[in-house]
């Protein structure tokens, strides 16, 4: 919220132009938000997301896509308006708990998650003797309901990460099995030509394609989930994953051939992977765990020093 960006003239004029309409739509009056309050909120939001170079038309379009009604409700709640809270609770209390249950998958954890979010929404954190509600950071880009779910999910993921750092090594190992998604597997020593060809092939992909591959292959998401994440049909994703996997294979082989490998050799190099090395690695992993039980890292990661050590440290420090 503390976006110190200066508010450009284009934004200001767009806000003043649309203020009457947006103010009417938002139903601010019910919550005791004045026109001036609302104008300030709009300016703040626009300044936050619009590049400084945006002209008035862009600012206009942007303002019109905002969900002003929910924005007004959230900001009025943040300002402590009673009617706003009443409406917020009737609309979202049940949904919030349902979402928490879906995210945490367990009743008491869900209650916990929802309660902690409520505390943040009411604004328990004191900053300069002021209660700041998390709702003050809602900007109306998406729906308030979706925002609440996302905030819950963020809280859940943060918490999971926090607890992960505190649990004992044994538990962590179990957890690693349980939560397959962020499990970094040992990287086998690979041909440098293979690595560079793979990197090139991956870099050539669009970010959406990489997102699909990562979500499906790394996170173990279902096709349906990936599809909903991107807002497309499941069959589209199904075809896309299939196509991408074939394409990548072809490109990597082609990349290696460009570096002077024979096709056959390249194809073999692609197929020779951890599967052949795994047994060795598992065995050495066990030793590693015994040798360095307080490393604070996942067992496997340090074994292969090939994983960029700097990045790994940064990650755990998050």
């Amino acid at each position: 919220m503390s976006s110190a960006k200066p508010i450009s003239a284009a934004v200001q004029s767009a806000v003043s132009e649309l203020l009457a309409e947006l103010h009417g739509r938002s139903g601010c009056e019910k919550f005791g938000l004045t026109r001036e309050n609302f104008s300030a909120i709009l300016c703040e939001v626009a300044a936050k997301y619009l590049p400084g170079s945006a002209n008035q038309t862009e600012a206009r379009t942007f303002l019109l896509t905002l969900r002003v009604e929910e924005l007004a409700l959230a900001r009025a709640c943040a300002a402590g308006s009673d009617p706003a809270w009443e409406l917020f609770l009737t609309r979202y209390r049940e949904k919030l708990y349902q979402s928490a249950l879906r995210i945490a998958r367990e009743d008491s954890a869900a209650r916990d998650l929802a309660d902690s979010l409520y505390a943040e929404l009411y604004g328990t954190t004191t900053r300069r003797d002021e209660r700041v509600s998390k709702l003050a950071s809602f900007t109306g880009r998406g729906s308030l309901e979706g925002w609440l779910r996302t905030v819950l999910a963020q809280e859940f993921v943060n918490r999971y990460r926090r607890t992960r750092r505190l649990v004992s090594l044994d538990e962590e190992n179990e957890e690693g099995i349980q939560f397959a998604a962020p499990e970094p597997e040992p990287v086998p020593p690979a041909d440098s030509r293979l690595e560079s060809a793979t990197d090139a092939a991956l870099a050539a992909l669009a970010s959406e394609d990489r997102l699909v591959l990562a979500a499906y292959y790394l996170d173990g998401r279902t096709l349906a989930e990936v599809a909903r994440m991107l807002g497309v049909h499941e069959s589209t994703i199904s075809r896309k994953v299939d196509k991408l996997a074939k394409l990548l294979r072809k490109k990597v082989v082609a990349g290696m051939m460009q570096q002077g490998m024979a096709r056959r050799q390249a194809e073999e190099a692609l197929e020779v992977d951890v599967r052949d090395l795994r047994i060795d690695i598992r065995a050495s992993l066990a030793q590693e765990n015994q040798a360095a039980p307080f490393s604070g890292e996942r067992g496997g990661i340090h074994f292969e020093q090939r994983v960029a050590p700097k990045s790994e440290k940064l990650k755990t420090g998050n």
């Binding site: 905030v151 591959l213 279902t222 992977d273």
Partner: protein, 467 residues
């Protein structure tokens, strides 16, 4: 799904690590929400996509925060098993198989419907056919015209049904019923004295007597009961309403002629029954009953042509005497009534009551299958759109209303219906009728789903809107 080479997966994962190295800020909850809801501008969307492609945590947040439309999909998705059913070949063959199944099932349904229809129609038609043959010996009544016209079309079917029915004693019973109703078809022959006890008996059989034209009812039920299987037999022993009826009937003279007619006819029916090789028990019932009705006949057996006036007088008398049925509405919005305090219910179709009751004669005592079939047929006849939600009855006055401003009024316990559309100046009743209340035949009120209340003080002639 294609497997990715291990090296590709590893490099893909390292891609993420490199991002963490840069320590780029995660997108805010607002942007992630807007991303899923597709309300981001292209440039912003590209930025979020790029981040998501590299950041496991944000991907997880986005997935967790997906709306709950497919709650099931999400709970099951925690299993890392990948469904290989969505491979294209499987889908393709699945579509072909589904198509074949769809075509086959449609064909089956069509075929079944056709056979069902012919099966259900056949007994009815046979009954009518016989009716006509007996009825022709009498003065043709207005009611029998339709049967005569039907006759030529049905002879073929009739034979078929006979063949089918003969080995099965139950079917024979239903045949017997048909013959019973035969005598009823010359509807216009009045016989209050005989008819009314029959009516009393006929009611419990399955509400048969209650349906349809008032004058025909008594006769139908009486004869149906006589020819019907033993289960209706005991009820003959107690015909309490017959006395009441006899008392109430002043014009015994007209009754006499009519009754003699009917008894003549009954004897003929008996003959027919015997010639059709009825099971012994049943013929006994018929025999036993026939004399009683003969004794009850006060006058001679002179055959007279009936006059319309008699018919009408009978119509009124039987309508007055008939016990008021109880009314209800089924869960699917079908209007129903019962003449035996709710033991058996029959659907009432406000548009084709006459039709329904004409085929009713066969229903009493007929085997279950025939009943079910008949219901089906009637359902097809009934307007599907009519959904009743409220019904009220005061003696023979019945009001029934329902969805789409449907309001029907009957003054004769549901034999005849008139559609009523309450209106006041320019306003017309719209919406669904949810409540109907009548304190007496003149005064009533109707509440609609829109919260309007319409009032009448003159039996529904004029309406006013309660403020």
């Amino acid at each position: 799904m294609q497997e990715l080479p291990k090296i590709v997966l590893d490099r893909l994962r390292e891609d993420r690590l490199r991002l963490d190295g840069v320590a780029e800020a995660h997108p805010e909850a607002d942007l992630l929400t807007a991303f899923v809801e597709h309300s981001l501008a292209d440039a912003e969307r590209a930025r979020v996509l790029e981040h998501l492609a590299r950041c496991t945590d944000c991907r997880e947040i986005v997935t967790l925060a997906l709306p709950a439309t497919d709650a099931v999909a999400i709970t099951t998705s925690s299993a890392p098993v990948r469904n290989r059913w969505f491979n294209w070949p499987a889908l393709r063959w699945g579509v072909v198989a589904a198509g074949i199944i769809a075509v086959a099932s449609i064909g089956m349904v069509q075929y079944r419907q056709r056979t069902l229809k012919s099966e259900t129609l056949a007994p009815t038609l046979t009954a009518r056919n016989e009716t006509v043959t007996t009825a022709q010996r009498f003065q043709p009544s207005p009611g029998s015209f339709e049967h005569q016209t039907i006759l030529p079309q049905i002879t073929g079917r009739q034979v078929q049904v006979r063949k089918k029915a003969s080995p099965n004693p139950q079917n024979k019973l239903s045949d017997g019923e048909s013959v019973g109703s035969v005598s009823a078809v010359p509807k216009s022959y009045p016989m209050p004295g005989g008819a009314l006890p029959g009516r009393a008996v006929g009611g419990p059989i399955g509400g048969v007597a209650g349906s349809g034209f008032a004058p025909a009812k008594g006769v139908t039920a009486a004869s149906a009961a006589r020819t019907s299987p033993p289960r209706t037999g005991p009820q003959f022993a107690v015909p309490p309403s017959s006395q009441v009826v006899d008392d109430q009937n002043a014009d015994a003279a007209t009754v006499a002629t009519a009754q003699s007619r009917i008894s003549d006819q009954l004897i003929q029916n008996q003959k027919e029954l015997r010639s059709q090789n009825r099971p012994a028990a049943k013929s006994d019932v018929v025999k036993a009953k026939a004399p009683t009705s003969l004794e009850a006949t006060p006058g001679g057996a002179s055959a007279h042509t009936l006059e319309p006036s008699i018919i009408s007088s009978l119509e009124t008398s039987s309508a007055v005497v008939s016990a008021s049925p109880s009314w209800t509405i089924s869960s699917s919005g079908v209007l129903r009534r019962s003449f035996d305090a709710g033991n058996t219910w029959e659907d009432v179709n406000v548009n084709s009551v006459a039709e329904a009751s004409a085929s009713k004669g066969n229903l009493a005592g007929a085997d279950e299958k025939a009943k079910v079939n008949e219901k089906k047929v009637r359902k097809e006849i009934a307007q599907p759109s009519m959904v009743f939600r409220a019904v009220t009855a005061l003696d023979s006055e019945v009001w029934a209303g329902g969805s789409g401003a449907v309001l029907y009024h009957s003054t004769d316990s549901g034999a005849h219906w008139v559609r009523v559309l309450p209106s006041l100046a320019s306003t017309v009743l719209t919406g669904d009728i949810t409540v109907i209340e009548f304190s007496d035949p003149q005064h009533g009120r109707i509440a609609t789903s829109y919260g309007e209340v319409w009032i009448t003080a003159d039996n529904g002639q004029t309406w006013s809107l309660q403020p």
